[in-house]
Symmetry: C2
């Protein structure tokens, strides 16, 4: 290998990227925790037996499965739902409802494309152990509060219920076609149903069913409860199907129109899944948030122009070997006021190189402490964004950069 590289679909997060990711994650955590969701983390590796036989052969082709040194069949986690099911089964004494969030990488050997990675971050919130519809509404409130906290103002939560869909058709194949109604025209979808062998009468019955559909009692209650929690942009959409077929009640997804992020969350109620996945028989409702997509969009569209890409506020330069200790002392004093301070580490490097270093690292302020400044108990402060430079008394420095 000439230059060692990351694997395709795997990413390094360099410091400036981490600055955005950390702010997104901290923003989300704060919202989740404000509703009583607590963090869970599960291992990167699981017994293969825990992972396989859950989502079908297509999914398994994408799983990273291998034998470990002890000959055990193991695999990298494929999502956060299967580990949640295992956790519910392994720790039966966890108080219920168990409200957890989990933000960790999952692994799928997919064809890579924009904002799709082989190691990607899942961000899931779920309430396990209650059939109460308040839990459904609360997930919607958490989604809404999260997107608002991230600065996404224009979004709609599309909502439907599997029970309403099942009243229209029981055929998974038909549902898969209906799911395309947000991208294809009605005529195209009807043709697809013809191709699938349905007769005209069946097709018009299905479309009549969709057009006359209204929220059933449960779904209306979820919508009402969500409204009480401040969620006012919910839209009933009887054509919403959601890809995964383990949902049993409420289903929803969120489309962010401004900025143009697109579909960013998906979830619903899945009262049988935890049992199906090998866990105990517990009802659950939850959502996933597209963390990688959110981070990518914020970076690409420069949605947070004011974000500090470094936590360092000030670079204290070193004027000369003789004055190095003065700079050290100043850096300590500044740091003690709670400011992120970097001391340039090398007194053999010229001052202009030190300034270049600050510029490249996007450090907002640079302090220069030369013989003139030391004699007067002053410092020279350079504001790197506007290029302005001024002398000020040393004891005024902390306040000037805070």
């Amino acid at each position: 290998m000439t230059t060692p590289q990351t694997l395709k679909g795997f990413r390094d997060f360099l410091p400036e990227t981490m600055a955005i990711r950390n702010r997104v994650i901290n923003t989300l955590k704060q919202v989740f925790e404000s509703y009583g969701f607590a963090e869970l983390q599960t291992p990167t590796l699981e017994y293969a037996e825990v992972l396989t036989g859950k989502y079908g052969a297509e999914a398994e082709k994408l799983m990273y499965l291998f034998k470990d040194q002890g000959g055990r069949d193991v695999g990298l986690k494929y999502d956060l739902t299967v580990p949640l099911a295992r956790v519910m089964s392994q720790y039966p004494d966890l108080p219920k409802p168990f409200k957890r969030y989990q933000i960790q990488p999952a692994f799928r050997a997919e064809n890579t494309q924009k904002s799709r990675y082989r190691e990607f971050y899942q961000c899931d919130i779920d309430t396990v152990g209650t059939t109460s519809l308040y839990a459904d509404a609360e997930i919607l409130a958490v989604i809404s509060d999260s997107l608002i906290a991230l600065g996404f103002i224009d979004f709609t939560i599309r909502i439907n219920s599997r029970k309403i869909l099942f009243g229209i058709t029981n055929s998974t194949s038909v549902l898969q076609s209906l799911d395309k109604l947000d991208k294809k025209s009605e005529a195209e979808v009807k043709q697809e149903l013809v191709d699938k062998g349905l007769v005209a009468d069946e097709i018009s019955k299905i479309f009549a069913g969709i057009k006359s559909a209204t929220p059933d009692t449960d779904l209306q209650q979820v919508i009402n409860l969500a409204a009480k929690l401040g969620v006012d942009n919910i839209k009933f959409d009887p054509t919403l199907v959601r890809g995964l077929d383990y949902y049993t009640g409420t289903i929803f997804e969120t489309v962010v129109t401004q900025p143009k992020v697109g579909s960013i969350t998906g979830g619903g109620r899945y009262d049988n899944l935890i049992k199906t996945l090998g866990g105990p028989d517990l009802p659950a409702v939850g959502t996933t948030l597209g963390l990688d997509r959110i981070c990518d969009v914020i970076a690409e569209l420069n949605l947070w122009p004011d974000i500090k890409l470094t936590t360092t506020k000030v670079l204290v330069t070193i004027f000369s070997a003789e004055l190095r200790d003065k700079s050290i002392e100043l850096s300590i004093r500044l740091r003690q006021t709670g400011i992120g301070v970097e001391l340039y580490p090398d007194d053999r490097i010229k001052l202009d190189k030190q300034l270049q270093y600050a510029a490249r690292k996007k450090i907002p302020y640079v302090v220069i402490l030369g013989p003139e400044e030391v004699a007067k108990d002053m410092v020279t402060l350079k504001n790197m964004s506007i290029g302005e430079q001024k002398q000020l008394p040393t004891d005024k420095l902390a306040a000037s950069v805070s």
Copy 2:
């Protein structure tokens, strides 16, 4: 499989464990960032070629290596230093000195034992790209500030230099024996050297060398600079060797005596390693902090008795279906003041069960809103730790639980 389980050496972090881990990690990040270290994350999987041929055959036996779906030889990361070397090579334009911290899992198929895991968290801080001894001293200051911030008061940083050791002996085998002087008696180590074939004269020369050793100019400067940065518990120890043999200058490790945590950090200067690992020719100095050990000790010795094991401050109970909306409204108002509030999700569950739930989740306060309270615009607030219960006006509630 009857009950699905975690693999041996792999861990779930349930919410109460995460509360401690998150506080440890946030405390450390804050110290690292106050010195200008910025976060880096690298992928879980690397090309096997990046990982192998670096630390010898013994290490490779412990690596999780396998073939991915595309037939590529890949592996789970074994440490954070090899990925750092790759990053330095893959992004040659990173401003230098590059000061990064990295807190991520690494994977080793070791025999599991107390506080040793197969998926374990490494926490590394390193400064890459300068030979300045200030960088060495700064790492010591970060270690000292970190341990103080965690509440570890009694600790000593043992320090030595590979250059001083090389002045005494060039034999790795002899160094390995000397390294045991903190656990074995001098007589035992001398016997070990006899067994290794050294004659009496050689052995007494080595011990005379150790006993008369003093810090050389460079090491004295590191000690002086660290003192300027406020690190006053450094002890020169000419018997300190450190296991890994890639260090080229300063070496150090920290022993925490109160609480009895033991050796908790290890590091030093490694000016050739990044090149050896396939990166560019860049000097570096850094340390690793034993994050898992720190978290385990804090939990076992209950060092943070006041830590909140849940971020939820208040459980708002639901008295009856009729009064549910009153509880919902109250939960929203409280949440808006910035308090973590959980609303009990189910109006079909009796109040005493709701209180039990709060107790099991260690939620400090419970609010009860019955018909009597609603009529008077009051709430009943129960302090769960002391069991006390009182009525107070609704608008006084937020202040009472903050």
